[in-house]
Symmetry: C2
């Protein structure tokens, strides 16, 4: 994939830097993919933070509603907002919002009809980082992952599965145990089949036990989150404690699962990553 | 108890303020009690943070090893370091270090031979705060509690049992579930008898469920802590989540149970309390 394969959908100034939306033909997903990028001003080879979004989202939700660019500009860190799945009329889909388009779960599906297009792990951990770092001059040695809900699951699992690629990781209202909650079990079964070992390879609580993480992790959770029963950050705290992985877990009063929550904590996450990607 | 009943053991300058060690005849414990106080300079009616110490400690361990005075001076907050139990030749004791003198568990014992002298709840929640605030001009409306190990248990349980007295609370390597771990069960049985309901009234996990806490809580824990099996901060995270009590739990790599850990995080705790007692 060459940078020249990128087409610019839109591009404009933002917090002294540049914000753009781009499209390209993805080899991983076998379809056109759209994503957005914030580039801070005046930084040679900045570190880059990938923000993975939740169920039903595209690149656009966090791009427009998280308020992240302001903090990224302050810290001199680039932001990339990928889509959450392959998309298109010839891509498989489901009537529910927890499977199919908008619900890629950041893994490479092995089961039909989702394989081979649903390959969001290869896309987010390899193809997209390689391409954007080459196209925009970001530092591939200083990449971090964060995300919200299903995107928090993606951030945690991709970081632990690709520690050679990502140096910092955090999550907001993350799905940390998809193999143990109804919310994730349907998707894991559809994408990966019935093998529990395959599920454990995409479950943050299981991965922190099996692979660990050599740095520290930040996890934020609202206590008024209507999806709490499917999130259970205390399970992740127990897994981190058992694996001796440093964790900062913040349980916040009042916040729900929305972007009002994300915009309230995103500044702390960007500061967290900026400090670790210095 | 009048301030004039205080006798000064020693007193000297410290970080621009004053550090002193004092003795008094306690009505609550029926014996002489010793404690230390740091007073910041130039603050009229400062807020005050009580630091409760762990098993085997006196007022002296944290006073001399936590490095807390520097941060208290910066934030203009007073510090009080109580002893961990009644003491004296005529006070009951035990051969083990988890019961008796040095192991008061911040509760009022109902069982002989510990009752009536072992009344550390009345002492730390009422008699001592009232006396030091009157003697030194601290603000009784802005009192916080922190502590280490058994002292973290004391801070959490006394705050939740006396929310009219304490406005902020934090813990370091705190015993959060003494009724469920061997470390606490022996002491609770000795001091309170065999009634599990009585134990639950002095167990932070049980109290956060039964009484809650209207503010947020900070809890720090080292992952190299040899006593981890008796601490289990993830249980407290689960209880806070269930009760919708805001919590920041930080699991730190490498730190053990010692004052090398306490001195590493005490600054964050004093900042936390200072912000909440403003």
């Amino acid at each position: 994939m060459q940078p020249s394969d990128l087409s610019t959908v839109e591009q404009r100034g933002c917090h002294g830097g540049t914000h753009g939306v781009y499209r390209h033909a993805s080899a991983a997903t076998g379809c056109e993919m759209t994503f957005s990028v914030f580039r801070p001003a005046g930084i040679e080879r900045p570190p880059v933070l990938f923000y993975l979004s939740g169920l039903t989202c595209t690149w656009e939700n966090a791009t427009t509603k998280a308020g992240a660019q302001r903090y990224a500009a302050e810290h001199g860190i680039a932001l990339v907002f990928p889509d959450t799945s392959p998309r298109g009329d010839d891509i498989a889909d489901d009537d529910g919002w927890q499977l199919g388009q908008g619900a890629g779960f950041y893994l490479d599906a092995t089961e039909k009809p989702w394989a081979p297009h649903f390959a969001m792990e290869r896309y987010c951990a390899h193809e997209l980082p390689d391409m954007v770092c080459e196209a925009f001059g970001f530092d591939t040695g200083r990449m971090g992952l964060t995300g919200h809900s299903m995107g928090g699951h993606g951030a945690l699992t991709l970081a632990m599965r690709h520690p050679d690629r990502f140096r910092s990781v955090s999550g907001m209202a993350a799905i940390v145990a998809p193999s143990r909650v109804e919310w994730g079990q349907g998707a894991l079964a559809a994408y990966l089949g019935d093998d529990p070992q395959a599920w454990a390879e995409h479950d943050a609580c299981a991965l922190v036990a099996s692979r660990g993480w050599r740095h520290d992790i930040l996890l934020d959770q609202g206590l008024a989150d209507g999806f709490y029963a499917g999130l259970r950050p205390e399970w992740f705290a127990a897994a981190c404690a058992e694996a001796k992985v440093p964790l900062t877990l913040r349980l916040h009063a009042d916040y729900d699962h929305s972007y009002y929550f994300v915009q309230s904590v995103i500044g702390d996450h960007i500061t967290w990553h900026a400090e670790r990607l210095k």
